[in-house]
Symmetry: C2
Subunit: 640 residues, 2 copies
């Protein structure tokens, strides 16, 4: 079987034996992700459509179709991509649920998009029309190929869920245009914002069209040779045009660009059997995770270029950790997992899902964080409801942004969540993420159907009941997260300890057979590597896969958040969906007035008053009760 040719709802399917689970193979029954998916279905999809209609981003296609492009055009030069990401989300949504509104909305949008396509397949509402800049005049900042990449990903979602339709045809014509325009005989250029690479590679897979993969390969190979005109005040590393992909040590520059590029490069490496390129990407992942990644899984330490910083540059307050970078990181990790089967990729996906992806949307599914810092100094509410906002840096979620990449990216990610929750490889089903529901996957030998019952991540018990099984031996592989020291697995053979990694059971399962995985999700202290200067002497509290945080709403008035000290001798204990720790304040004498805040005496340890119990909440629901000052890392008191 070549799962690359299936039309199952499956975002990425390399031509290998390991494949992700299809959307219709895992039906969620509520729980953490089922809840988020329901809000996405009911609110976020419509919210994104409403905002793009209101701002005129969808109408840009109508104007391009009518040749009426001479006047001012609403939106940034990359606003088409937001419409495409919504179309992708609608395709997954319809594929997963059969939702008629999603299908109809998609078809209406695709009609408008198709009408704007030029005869030669070029499709962009910002360039090439009457009164507009010419096509591809500004590869550094024009984002035309970036937009096309998102169109192709949307078409992949459609091809996988509904089959070839008008959207797929539009995308095919656009991809053919790119292959002609940027092929061996065409422009030897690349796009400042990678995305066309992953789009072409996925589309090539979905349609079984190697020309698209070859063109993706060309874009990968051309990159890193300094051909892009620099953007003001930034160097080529901003868009990864400084070092060829295969030669780089770590990801750098603009995080979303770096990660989209890496995702496309993994696809190309796998599809062309390039072990050297794949190895380079594995090393880049490891180096980046080990030195340039936050406790939340967030990536991007700098606001200036929305970029990675240097090794160990992980400031909590100015962490950028863009929601889209979390999504893009998971795209890369997922591809590397499929390519290698190594569990650490799934570990990082879980960390990022709970603490970046889930942290962005508000409960209503109509407000979002763009940046996800680990410290908020002040609770200033800088967000104007019902208006376009900059980036919501003030600690309150915003309904829409000036550059609004995150809401539609979340919509497509949540609509296809289960696609990365498990994988199938021959006679083996690997469960990567735990959520209540039913899984039914085709293995070699027949279908294996499981019922998963769990209150994870708040509780650590995952019950798995076999509903249907082949008559032959199959393997059920359960991921034990890297933090889960002390886990245990109970099956027909009794209860046994399992370490982080895989807990595997190989058997001829009978319907009704049950397994129970127990993960130690109690709260725990976590310390940073000593080379991370920005959080020296601090400790964080995690609970299972959840990073927790202190919000000033939960602090007594005499416990100002900037003076917190946590007593690390007293273990944190679970309470509600968070934890309770012992904290106190410490107050140094103020420096003399009119002087810089440095003085001739050491910082003391300890505290001013006996510590008391204070509640921490999961990071992903910070600012749910309004703007708050917030800290993930709490200074520890080494001496009392």
């Amino acid at each position: 079987m070549n799962p690359g040719n299936t039309s199952r709802p499956l975002p990425v399917a390399p031509p290998a034996n390991r494949r992700g689970i299809a959307l219709d193979e895992y039906r969620l029954a509520g729980g953490f992700w089922g809840g988020l998916q329901a809000v996405n279905s009911a609110a976020t999809l419509r919210h994104c459509l409403e905002w793009m209609e209101r701002l005129g981003w969808t109408a840009n296609f109508d104007r391009a179709a009518a040749g009426d492009t001479g006047g001012p055009r609403p939106g940034w030069q990359f606003s088409d991509s937001e419409v495409y990401k919504l179309v992708e989300a609608l395709a997954w949504e319809h594929g997963r649920t059969g939702d008629a509104w999603a299908n109809e909305t998609l078809e209406v949008l695709v009609d408008r998009i198709a009408a704007a396509q030029a005869d030669d397949g070029y499709l962009n509402t910002c360039y090439g029309g009457p009164g507009q800049e010419p096509r591809y005049a500004d590869l550094s900042s024009g984002h035309e190929l970036y937009c096309t990449g998102h169109l192709l990903q949307a078409a992949v979602a459609r091809a996988r869920t509904t089959g070839e339709d008008k959207l797929v045809e539009v995308a095919r014509r656009a991809a053919d245009h790119v292959c002609r325009e940027f092929g061996p005989e065409g422009r030897q250029g690349i796009c400042g914002h990678p995305e066309i690479e992953v789009g072409l590679a996925e589309f090539g897979r979905a349609l079984g069209e190697p020309r698209y993969t070859e063109q993706a390969r060309r874009f990968i190979d051309r990159r890193g040779r300094g051909t892009l005109e620099p953007v003001a005040l930034l160097d080529g590393s901003y868009f990864q045009d400084d070092v060829p992909v295969v030669e780089a040590d770590a990801w750098r520059g603009h995080a979303v660009r770096a990660l989209y590029l890496a995702a496309g490069a993994v696809d190309v490496a796998v599809d062309t059997g390039d072990r050297e390129l794949l190895g380079a990407l594995e090393r880049q992942w490891a180096r980046t995770v080990e030195r340039r990644t936050y406790l939340t899984g967030g990536m991007g330490s700098r606001h200036q270029d929305e970029g990675f910083g240097e090794d160990w540059e992980l400031p909590p307050d100015r962490a950028y950790c863009e929601t889209c970078a979390g999504i893009a990181s998971n795209m890369v990790s997922w591809r590397l997992y499929l390519a290698t089967g190594r569990v650490e990729y799934a570990d990082l996906i879980e960390r990022t899902l709970y603490n970046v992806v889930a942290a962005s949307p508000g409960e209503d599914g109509r407000s979002f964080f763009y940046a996800n810092p680990l410290q908020q100094r002040a609770s200033a509410a800088d967000v104007k409801p019902d208006q376009v906002n900059p980036r919501a840096e003030g600690g309150v979620r915003a309904p829409w942004f000036d550059v609004s990449c995150c809401p539609t990216n979340l919509a497509r990610t949540l609509a296809s969540w289960q696609a990365c929750a498990a994988s199938v490889e021959g006679d083996t089903l690997a469960l990567l993420q735990y959520a209540p529901g039913e899984i039914r996957a085709e293995l070699d030998g027949g279908a294996l159907a499981l019922r998963v019952t769990t209150a994870y991540p708040l509780e650590g018990t995952v019950h798995i009941e076999v509903v249907e099984a082949p008559g032959s031996e199959v393997e059920l592989r359960l991921r034990v997260p890297d933090w889960a020291e002390g886990a245990a697995l109970t099956d027909g053979g009794g209860r046994r300890a399992v370490g982080p990694g895989w807990a595997a059971v190989r058997a001829v399962f009978e319907p009704g057979a049950a397994l129970t995985l127990e993960l130690p999700v109690g709260p725990r202290f976590t310390w940073p590597d000593e080379r991370i200067d920005a959080v020296r002497g601090c400790v964080a509290v995690e609970r299972g896969p959840l990073v927790l945080c202190a919000e000033d709403l939960d602090l007594p008035g005499d416990l100002p958040i900037e003076r917190l000290r946590v007593d690390t001798r007293a273990a944190p204990r679970a309470e509600g969906d968070g934890a309770v720790v012992r904290m106190a304040a410490r107050t140094e004498p103020e420096a003399p007035a009119g002087r810089v805040p440095f003085r001739a005496g050491p910082q003391r340890s300890g505290w001013d008053a006996p510590p008391r119990e204070v509640r921490l909440v999961p990071y992903h629901r910070r600012a749910r009760r309004g703007g708050s000052a917030m800290r993930v890392f709490l200074p520890g008191a080494e001496r009392s």
Copy 2:
């Protein structure tokens, strides 16, 4: 006497009894500042001229004069201001030394500038000409009034040193144009980049023309009311258009803008007798210094907007601390000192002079730092010699920048250094900065002339010999820096301890009388306020007014800079121009591969091997030996 009407070489002269010392009243005889001033004279002035000729920034005036403005124009929209800052530097240089080259170069530049001025006084090479955008079409980003402000400051330098000439006439016509165009009946706008305010106020003082001060007042009063169109992704605080000047708590947004605005506002407050406005600016200074200022005196914690961050947001690695912000900070502190006579303003000036202003230029006077961070993680040399560079963030000084505000700003600051080194008030001479040379100032009662002999800041002894004195009682007031606990003063009455603040001697001085101030300039540890998260658990070493730093060039191979620990029980001792401290490395076990850099065990204190002696160098000469990894703040080892 109203020193506002003097034509002495005196940058700022409020209509109060306290005035700065004029350039020709303090002749430096080498020393730290005499050396920098000599390099500025010999190299930096010519360097700036050469680069602006090479890049076509000066020729923009010729093209504007010829009406040949249709084609591409070199430089940013604010490049005229660099030419004006060089003209200002040349004016001070000629005024201070009589240098003929400086005078001739100035006159040639002024002829070219004057030729570009429109009949109605408007003068800008980027707007209003054939094929250009119209005048004042973009107040947020156009920088036209900003450029005019620098023209006015240049004219002030000329008026104070040479008297009214062609430059002053050009400036007068430009100022009159601004008053008409933006007066009560004109455009009710402000410039996105403050500078016109301080330019108009200074020029009004220099020429005794209250209309200019009134127009400056209008710009101050209009600000903070949200009239500027926001710049993409930034809010009104970026250019201080969020809160009226008199209502603000602290400086915020773009640091140079905030500080130029504050400088102009102090001038306006003093010249219009507005105690409320002056009080607000004093409070803003105090709040900003106490919570938003680095150990070096540097201001600006963020790269994204070149701006202040929030209180206690003082990351050493991503400190921006733009050279121009240091210069602008001193402009504000100097004005507040003149207005109030309070010593802490002069303390901050010294800190900023030695550790920001002096840190920018290389020994050759032809390379500069734009940003002055307190930590450099890697020694990557990203600077291309003989090319325009972005901002020299890689730890090596660059000859010129894309936005090249700092070199010309340094040139004008160094050319007029002594103007802020002392002040005169009635019968009192206050010495604020210590440098070898001769001072001769006119006091009430007659001239007081002093010979200062000192190797400050490396040695703490300042000998002052009276060369000439009035027959009446006068006061000599010596600044004892805020860090100088244990200082002593010896005069005819013997030796006595003096505390930080003022050490004053009031007497009828005889020629030949001598005083000796002893300042404790030995190296010392300095700890940050505990609320500065980014340097928790760290210590810095200062030596007199100098902040020191560790460069990896001075570290043994087994002492990697990211793992340094300093033994704070052993006092640092002076060596060369730096200090020696005891340091060792500490190595935690590495976290498992493929995981984020956080783990389930506390950071240890202490070190792996016995500490040894390691040399620190003055921060201002970092990277003089080539690119280096560098730290000002060193983690302390609390336990051995």
